[in-house]
Structures are given as structure tokens and as C-alpha cells.
């Protein structure tokens, strides 16, 4: 039995005439310690999928099993890094993290909580900014706070919804390394949502494309059997890497084409001829 299992999961928003089936027939299983990436087009339902797994949303069909038990709500066992960071703007960096720590470890003494907060803030390199508010931080720093907050609760599985989506390429690279470093320390199970194929290739053990919605489903998986730690510059010369990358991009392009033809309705134009103003 897999660690996380999704069986025929569907999600419909709205009711009656306004109902739209965003996700349809999603099947996925993730083993313990695995790092899985899901790539998909914007608006295809990636955030919806994440919220189903972390328990913020309930599926309209099918079942989601975490360690064999149906997911019935949020849990401290599954840490989440939201797409838009979702830091509380009235709290400082330290307070944002410490709120999470206190919830995850309600029996810890004040001092232990403080130490843990300091440890995780240090881990993401934000100790100098610990008493700043999110508004005073750059996007990358905010992202690192969100990482620290999620990890400080010591979750068994970490779910990341486009964690680096809003960052520039350089910062992105740095944070990818940081996340990998943290992950490789105790190999927690990880699910990464991304719109960047290279990011998935660099970080994950498996890449699964999410086909465009509505009624989005998962496509065929691509295994990435490349030794860790991976080196970005060497990867470019790795024939296996090149082959996989091309295969994934080809697949995404083809479903992108499909999407275009699906929405490429032909509209009948009314026949109009210019009016003559002379006669």
C-alpha cells in the first residue's frame, strides 16, 4: 500500500447549471520518501489538487488515502507551502513561524519553542530579518519564511504549490538547492507542484503532467533516474536528462495543441456588405 493514494478523485466546483468539473478521475500513488513533481498549465487545477490532498477541500468523487486512512481534514502530518505564501502580514517572520511551532508542539516549553523557531529561521537564512514583517521582505525572503513555517511543524509529508513560481530564475535556483538540501536530510515525502519542467527534472524522482482542464486528469508519468545530488551544469550534458526533457516537453506541447483545437470553435460570420451612401 502506497503512502499517499488517490483513487478516481473528482472535484466539481459549484452546483447545478454553474457546476464545473475541474478535476476528473485522478489516480496517483506516492511512496514514502519519494519526491514527486506535478507539472501543468496555469488554471488546470493544480491548486485544487493540492487542497484536496492537504484536506482543505473535499473530493466530490473518489477517495484520498494517507497512510491507508481517508483524508478528512487538514493535519499536522502534511505540511503545506501555499502558492502565494499566505504569511500573516501583522506578524513578524519569527511570530509567523512560532505560531506554527506552538500549534504543532503544544506541550513544548516557551524556551524550546523559541529555540525551534530560531533554528528554522536560521535554516532558511533569515535570522537578520526575524523581527521584520512580511511587507518589508522581498518575494524570495517571504517564500523562505513559508518554507520555514511549513518545515518547523516537522510534517511527515510536505506539499508545495508552485513554491518558486513568483521568483526570478537566479533566486529560484538558490531556493531549489535549499529545499533539496532540507529534503535530503531526512527524506520526507514531498509533492511539488510546478509549471517549470526543468525544476521538476532537477528536483523530483518522478514527473507527472496534469492535463489542461476542465476535467483535468494526470498524464503518463516520467521517471527520472538521475543520481543525487544532481548538478545543474552537468545535467545539461546528461543524455538521459535530455531525452526525458524532450519527451515531457513534446507531451506537454501535444496536449497544448489539443487544447487549442478543442477551443478552436468556428464562428459563422454574418454576411455584410458595405452600404452605399450615395444612392
Amino acid at each position: 500500500m502506497a503512502y499517499l493514494e488517490l483513487n478516481n478523485v473528482c472535484k466539481t466546483y459549484g452546483e447545478g447549471v454553474h457546476a464545473t468539473e475541474v478535476l476528473s478521475d485522478i489516480n496517483l500513488s506516492i511512496e514514502e520518501g519519494e519526491f514527486v513533481a506535478i507539472v501543468g498549465f496555469t488554471g488546470s487545477g493544480k491548486t485544487t489538487l493540492v487542497n484536496l490532498i492537504n484536506g482543505l477541500l473535499k473530493p466530490t468523487g473518489g477517495e484520498i488515502l494517507f497512510k491507508g486512512k481517508a483524508v478528512s481534514g487538514t493535519s499536522h502530518e502534511r505540511g503545506v507551502i501555499f502558492q502565494n505564501y499566505s504569511l500573516l502580514p501583522w506578524l513578524t517572520v519569527g511570530q509567523n513561524v512560532s505560531m506554527a511551532v506552538r500549534e504543532a508542539f503544544p506541550n513544548e516549553k516557551r524556551k524550546a519553542v523559541k529555540e525551534r523557531v530560531a533554528q528554522y529561521v536560521e535554516m532558511v537564512g533569515l535570522t537578520p530579518a526575524i523581527s521584520k514583517r512580511p511587507k518589508e521582505l522581498s518575494g524570495g525572503m517571504r517564500q523562505r519564511v513559508a518554507v520555514a513555517r511549513a518545515l518547523s511543524m516537522n510534517p511527515e509529508m510536505i506539499i508545495m504549490d508552485e513554491p518558486l513560481g513568483a521568483l526570478d530564475a537566479l533566486t529560484r535556483g538558490n531556493l531549489q538547492d535549499e529545499i533539496l538540501k532540507i529534503w535530503s536530510k531526512d527524506r520526507r515525502t514531498a509533492l511539488l507542484i510546478t509549471n517549470d519542467v526543468d525544476e521538476g527534472l532537477y528536483m523530483a524522482d518522478r514527473i507527472i503532467p496534469l492535463r489542461p482542464g476542465p476535467r483535468a486528469t494526470l498524464g503518463p508519468e516520467f521517471k527520472i533516474d538521475i543520481e543525487r545530488p544532481r548538478d545543474k551544469t552537468e545535467l545539461n550534458d546528461n543524455p538521459f536528462y535530455k531525452k526525458t526533457r524532450n519527451a515531457i516537453i513534446e507531451y506537454l506541447m501535444s496536449i497544448g495543441e489539443e487544447r487549442k483545437t478543442v477551443s478552436g470553435k468556428v464562428y459563422a460570420l454574418p454576411e455584410l456588405s458595405p452600404k452605399s451612401f450615395v444612392a
Binding site: L56, G73, S75, H76, V80, N84, P89, A100, P128, K135
Partner: protein
């Protein structure tokens, strides 16, 4: 490598940004000695004040002339040429008995202001003397278990101001204590919001006068057998009831429209319901609550004057009303002094609230 660079930079920035925050919170603008800004910030306002006083002076002058001409003509028609001449002479001499009664000029208002201040000094000296005189007696009375003798003379203008401030703060506090908790409860529940909405919509536009009458009906009966100062109670309750609606509506709106992301954070952290309210919902709606409180305070100050005037409770409102009925020669200019004082205090109260509002608001720059 990269890491260390960012680190030292942030440490540097910390001090200067802390200063900046302090400055922006206190609403202080760093002084810039640029001739253009001096012109805009100092010269233009002074010029506009001078222009205002000038226009006022000219306007008051012409109203005065119209009134004076009318008086002379009336004397001529009623009593003949001799009476008209003596009236003209009387007006020209500045005799108090025959001055035209109209909009006072800036100079008259300034004089009245000084009179009021002098009057206040006399009265407070009087009070002090009274206190000295009765100190020994009062001690004896207290020892015997009797009420001490208190000063019952006429309150000065400054006393009236403080009475009004006391009433407005009592009313504001009442509004705060009623509107914020109810607003939170209503905001948390869609059902309650729907069922209370009509009530709020119906009571919100009710005029201060009607609130006063309603409170009067109730308080009059309730304080029948006590010799409390019911005028104060009536006016502060009416002020509170009139002014609380903005806070009620804003609090309910703030609580009900908390960003979905924050609610998701609360869910992921598994906060308990009460913690969710106090750690997520309330902080995120604080800016809106304070916007409501700011409106409440300015409404409270505005209706206070009308309510004091009607309820005959001491304060600026009754000061204005008494002066109006008094009809003494400088009554009109005293009313104008009161008008400026009311306006300036209202402005200061609003500034204080704005500063507090900016301090609690995490996205800064509330509209001024």
C-alpha cells in the same frame, strides 16, 4: 557567498527601516528645506487663511451696513428725522445699546475669545478660593458622613469644553463596547448577519433627535427615584447609540471578509475556533474596525452638540444655545468662537484616531 551578501545588507537596512517606520507611524514628514515645498506647505495655507479672514471681514462689514441702514430707515419712518439722526450717531459711536445684530467680524470674534478666556480665569480663581474656604468645613462634613459642599457657580467656557469631551468619550466608549462585540459575532455568522441586517439598515439612518427622545423616555423612568445627573446619562447614551453604527457595520464587514488565504492558514495549522478568532480573524479585521471607530468618534462629536442643545445637559451645545437665546451684544461672536472650537477639537480627535488607525494597520497609508 551570495547568502552572506544579502545577510549583511538586511542588517544594515534594519536600522534605517525601523526609523522610517517610526517616522511614518507618527505621521511626521521629514522636513525638506526646498523653497517649493515651503511655498506649498507654509505660504499657501497662510495666504488662504488670510484670504478667508479678509472675505469674512468684508462680508461682515457689508451685512453690518445693511443692518445699520435698515435701523436708521426704520427710525426715520417710525419716529422722524431726529430719531434717525440720533440712531445714526448712536451706531457710529459704537454704543452697545444700539449696535446692529448680525454676523460678527473677525475682530469681534477674537475679542470674544479673549473675553471667554479671561472669564475662565476669573471663574477658576473663584473656584480655587471657594475650595480653600470650604476645605476645613468639608473635612468635618466628610468625617460626619455628610456630602461635601461643592462649587455650584456658573461653568466657564473651558469647563463646558471639558464637559463635552467627557460626554463624547463616554458615548464613544459605550459605542465601542456595544458595537465591536456585536459586530464580531454578526460577522462570524452568515445567518446572524442576514437576520440582523434589516435591523441595522432600519436603525442606522435614525436621526439623533429621535434617539435622544427614545433614551429620554427610558432613562427618565429608570432614574426616577435617584437624584443622579440624568442629563449627562441621557446625552452620552444617545451619542453612543447614534454613533455606533459605523463601527458595527465595519466590524461585521471586516470579520466576514477575512482573506481566504488566512483562513486556510488557520485550518492548516489546526487553530481552535477561539484561537482562530483572536489570532487570525481579529488582527486581519483591525484596520476596518478602526476605520469604523474613527467614523464613530467624528459622528459622536458632531451629534453631541445637537444632543446637548436639546437635552439641556451642560457642554458646548448648551453653551451655544444659551448664548443664542441670551441675545447679548457679544452673543453672536461667542457662538462663532464655539464653532471654531468645536471644529478644531473635531479635527484633533480625527487626527488622533487616524494615527492610531495607521499604527494598527499592517498595509499602511489609510486614506486621510
Amino acid at each position: 557567498m551570495k547568502q552572506s551578501v544579502t545577510v549583511s545588507k538586511t542588517a544594515d537596512l534594519k536600522v534605517s527601516s525601523a526609523l522610517k517606520i517610526l517616522v511614518s507611524r507618527l505621521n511626521i514628514k521629514a522636513p525638506k528645506f526646498n523653497p517649493n515645498t515651503i511655498f506649498k506647505k507654509v505660504v499657501v495655507p497662510i495666504l488662504s487663511i488670510l484670504l478667508f479672514i479678509g472675505l469674512w471681514h468684508v462680508g461682515a462689514r457689508s451685512l453690518y451696513n445693511i443692518e445699520a441702514d435698515f435701523k436708521i430707515e426704520k427710525a426715520l419712518a417710525d419716529q422722524g428725522q431726529a430719531a434717525a439722526d440720533s440712531m445714526a450717531a448712536c451706531i457710529a459711536s459704537g454704543d452697545i445699546s444700539c449696535q446692529p445684530n448680525t454676523l460678527p467680524s473677525p475682530a469681534q470674534v477674537w475679542d470674544s475669545f479673549n473675553t471667554l478666556i479671561a472669564d475662565h480665569q476669573v471663574i477658576s480663581a473663584d473656584k480655587l478660593a471657594f475650595k480653600d474656604k470650604t476645605a476645613a468645613l468639608n473635612e468635618k462634613r466628610i468625617a460626619e458622613g455628610k456630602d461635601p459642599i461643592t462649587y455650584t457657580g456658573r461653568p466657564s467656557f473651558v469647563d463646558q469644553i471639558f464637559t463635552s469631551l467627557k460626554t463624547v468619550f463616554a458615548g464613544f466608549l459605550l459605542a465601542f463596547m456595544i458595537a465591536v462585540p456585536i459586530g464580531i459575532v454578526i460577522g462570524l455568522s452568515q445567518t446572524l448577519r442576514n437576520s440582523f441586517n434589516w435591523l441595522i439598515q432600519v436603525f442606522k439612518p435614525v436621526s439623533p433627535v429621535v434617539w435622544l427622545l427614545l433614551v429620554f423616555m427610558i432613562v427618565k423612568t429608570m432614574t426616577k427615584d435617584s437624584n443622579q445627573d440624568s442629563a449627562f446619562i441621557i446625552s452620552f447614551i444617545s451619542v453612543g447609540l447614534c454613533a455606533m453604527w459605523a463601527t458595527l457595520v465595519n466590524t461585521a464587514m471586516g470579520v466576514s471578509s477575512v482573506d481566504k488565504d488566512y483562513i486556510n492558514v488557520a485550518k492548516v495549522l489546526k487553530l481552535k475556533p477561539l484561537q482562530k478568532v483572536f489570532k487570525v480573524i481579529l488582527p486581519s479585521s483591525l484596520p476596518l474596525i478602526f476605520t469604523g471607530l474613527r467614523i464613530t468618534l467624528s459622528v459622536a462629536w458632531m451629534v453631541l452638540i445637537a444632543i446637548e442643545l436639546l437635552a439641556q445637559s451642560p457642554g458646548l451645545g448648551s453653551f451655544v444655545w444659551e448664548e443664542f437665546q441670551n441675545g447679548a451684544n457679544d452673543s453672536n461672536s461667542k457662538i462663532i468662537v464655539a464653532m471654531f472650537v468645536i471644529g478644531i477639537i473635531g479635527f484633533l480627535l480625527d487626527r488622533i484616531m487616524l494615527t492610531i488607525q495607521n499604527m494598527v494597520s499592517f498595509n499602511k497609508n489609510a486614506a486621510t
